[in-house]
Point group: C2
Chain length 472, copies 2
């Protein structure tokens, strides 16, 4: 008689809240149960690891327009078919074809020392005998802009900025501008070449390549990346206060544009087959390594994830489409080509996800959905909570390939992975299969499979994530 | 009245033991006090680090007979003099001169892939257009010996053995035989070339060079080292069961013998100047890196240690002699030349110490002294006990340069350092100054300075450590 009257309102309130929570749960119990089964299966499934071994061993380097690129397209078609994907096809894309050639550089004064450079993608060649010039160090583009007129004319600009090692990749975002436009801006000021401290965070004697911008109106000068140890050495020579000279030779050139393709395969939806959950990764790689993390890991992740969805007892309502993009690294023609080809269909893309940060530990899940769909995104991410993976917000952006779909309003889910080890390897000869931890690859596959399955099963409509921008 | 009678015997016994311990202490208190001062000074002294930056920046690669070798000799003479060493001199040594040239290799079947090889020191060249042949994998020399006659004739032998990563360097001792005689033994069986998995423990795409044996009676075939990632790739191709072919080209050659030198400097002894405590390291390096750990760290360690001894308030009784040996890496002429030149004087070498395992954490101190001098060795090592460094036994062996003095009966002290990180870098392009931890370099310097000072101050006679073997 004493406790009951005080308990009753609490119990009633609890029941009401429980019912409200039930009502707010966006997914049927069967979908959640099936998603959990997929999640667990991923952790003992080696399809992804075997695919990645196959791609790195049997294809290897596959830069756009190279023989490896063509082999990669054939490899992808064969493997998607063998894994039971439907509507497997190569959607032709014309790609630019830059040819690395050979790069050599050495410090000639004050103390002669060999360097181990790599050309940036798009670098100009030196005259055949090479060039030799004094070095002008600057930290960043901002410092370059402050130099007096003529300061770099006839000289080699050395960008000394060091990329910071961060788990979220912010260090890359800050540093990469030097790679993008360092040569262009230096050329405008009359420099004969640039060398940059690699956009990378390791201390190995392996420089990081990557794309640089060129412009029709500005002479494209040679642009070489130096490893961190070589950049340290060059800074130590500069610290002497004596003039420092570099001799370099580079034979990069542009080949003819080439045919490549976005390779597409589907797990058809059972009830809403015209609505598409798109999983993207890029099939091309830089030429220095075998593209194991960048982006073989992405190819393996989305392919193995989609296959797990295709093998589920409860088929997905929507179609899960795997798109292996052409030439992400040095032109982006695959991403633009996809949007152009599928223009009418973009409105039926209900969700986009991209894997292009390697097979490293999954740190979080982000969404980009209309505000009223946030509970749906949170409910999706909640399935990774048992792994200690949090939902981190509604600022997902996709990557280079799927990001442009986001700009057209397609909702996005990002799986954030640890970017710190990624940028130790990124765009170097070290990006090889031995660096793949199979357990971490399985975790990535599990995250993609779980989230993509739920996106395909969500009974409602994700809407459009933002006001669409005009297509690029 | 009750306690006094029971205490007296205890006190008397204690005093007797204390006197006995004092009697057994091999070093005067003043020597121990001064040694401790030296030990502590080393931890805030940057002479060694500055020397190493200078050597790696201003000289860089310095393989025997190369222009860098001659620069290194001049550098060493200048720096020993500038640091106040006495009797600084270059003791001429004739060294062999192997010229690396260029090495290229690629897998041509079943799946074409580029490799990033380096030639082993002493490798033969290919014919100018290169060679292409099937690959025969074997783990070790022992397995090679079991193959049926003709199994490797006309083929390329691939030694797949993987070096184990150990703190005591045992993995190197086991693995290195393949590098030493793999090509020689394969050539005897008719192989056209060998490739070996690098004798190294890292996973970087940087192969490890090192000396191989050649013989007048056996054709010297091309011998290339592959990084662990490249060896993994080659094994993955072999796992297909299909014939695997490699194409390679190598232009190594022997140059004329060249003049180099052991560079010597001394801290003269105050009272027993004719007795010598020898500190050895090698001045040459392989050509791929700047020889920061191998053996710039040794050069810096023993030079800075001897200088600390020279700056001590209580001068050493014996002479501390620094010997920077020529061509340890590829001929050992410096070590042999020293013994030949100093034959009569070897009997007055009371102790030898060598630094040639990089500037990594000090793990222990070993001696090689006559059994009745073990208390002396233990008392010396005890000064490093506050760093947690134990005395580990009487099995010291010196290194390649000082070890031969041990074989002539000269007592030795070894400072054991962590060999695990050393063999990640050893003989690769990655052996550069940025890999030096200044605190660990200071610890090495402190260990050498403390132990060498005590060896120079020991009032007794160390005797001969073992029955001398005939000089080599």
């Amino acid at each position: 008689m004493r406790s009951l009257p005080r308990c009753v309102p609490t119990i009633v309130l609890g029941l009401l809240l429980f019912r409200a929570a039930r009502a707010a749960e966006p997914f049927p119990q069967a979908a959640l149960d099936q998603a959990r089964v997929i999640r667990e299966r991923a952790l003992s499934d080696d399809v992804g690891y075997d695919l990645l071994r196959s791609l790195t061993t049997e294809v290897g380097p596959r830069s756009a327009g190279s023989p490896g690129d063509a082999r990669a397209v054939a490899w992808a078609l064969a493997h998607l078919r063998a894994l039971g994907f439907k509507n497997v096809r190569a959607e032709s894309v014309t790609v630019s074809h830059w040819i690395r050639g050979e790069a050599q550089a050495e410090i000639t004064a004050p103390w002669p020392q060999p360097l181990l450079p790599v050309a940036l993608g798009g670098s100009g060649a030196t005259p055949p005998p090479g060039i030799e010039a004094d070095v002008v160090p600057v930290t960043t583009l901002a410092e370059l802009a402050t130099l007096p007129a003529g300061a770099v004319k006839g000289r080699i600009v050395f960008f000394t900025q060091r990329m910071q090692r961060t788990h979220d990749g912010a260090g890359y975002g800050t540093a990469v501008a030097v790679r993008g436009t360092g040569a262009l801006e230096s050329s405008k000021l009359g420099a004969v070449a640039v060398v940059i401290r690699s956009i990378g965070t390791d201390s190995n004697r392996l420089a990081h390549t990557g794309a640089m911008r060129i412009a029709d109106t500005v002479r494209t000068i040679p642009a070489l990346a130096l490893s961190n140890p070589d950049a340290d050495l060059l800074e130590n020579e500069l610290a002497s206060g004596q003039p420092v000279r570099i001799r370099m030779r580079n034979t990069s050139m542009w080949g003819d544009s080439a045919r490549s393709a976005n390779v597409v395969g589907e797990i058809p939806g059972a009830t809403k087959a015209s609505e598409i959950v798109l999983l993207g990764a890029h099939l091309d790689s830089w030429d220095l390594g075998t593209g194991a993390h960048d982006d073989g890991a992405g190819v393996a992740t989305i392919t193995a994830a989609a296959r797990l969805i295709g093998a589920a007892r409860v088929a997905p309502a929507r179609t899960v489409r795997v798109v292996l993009y052409a030439n992400e690294e040095h032109g982006g023609q695959g991403s633009r080509g996809y949007i152009k080809r599928h223009g009418e269909e973009i409105a039926r893309h209900v969700m986009g996800m991209e894997s292009d940060l390697g097979a490293f530990p999954v740190l979080g899940v982000a969404s980009r959905v209309p505000p009223d769909r946030l509970p749906v995104a949170r409910a999706m991410a909640a399935l990774l909570a048992p792994w200690g993976v949090p939902y981190v917000g509604n600022e997902a952006g996709g990557g280079s390939d799927v990001g442009p779909l986001g700009e057209l309003g397609v909702p996005l889910i990002d799986v954030h992975t640890d970017a710190a080890p990624y940028f130790d390897l990124h765009h170097t000869a070290n990006d090889t299969f031995d660096k793949i931890d199979p357990a971490l690859l399985r975790q990535n596959i599990g995250a993609f499979a779980t989230l993509a399955y739920l996106a395909a099963q969500y009974p409602g409509d994700f809407g459009r994530a933002m006001k669409p921008k005009p297509a690029r």
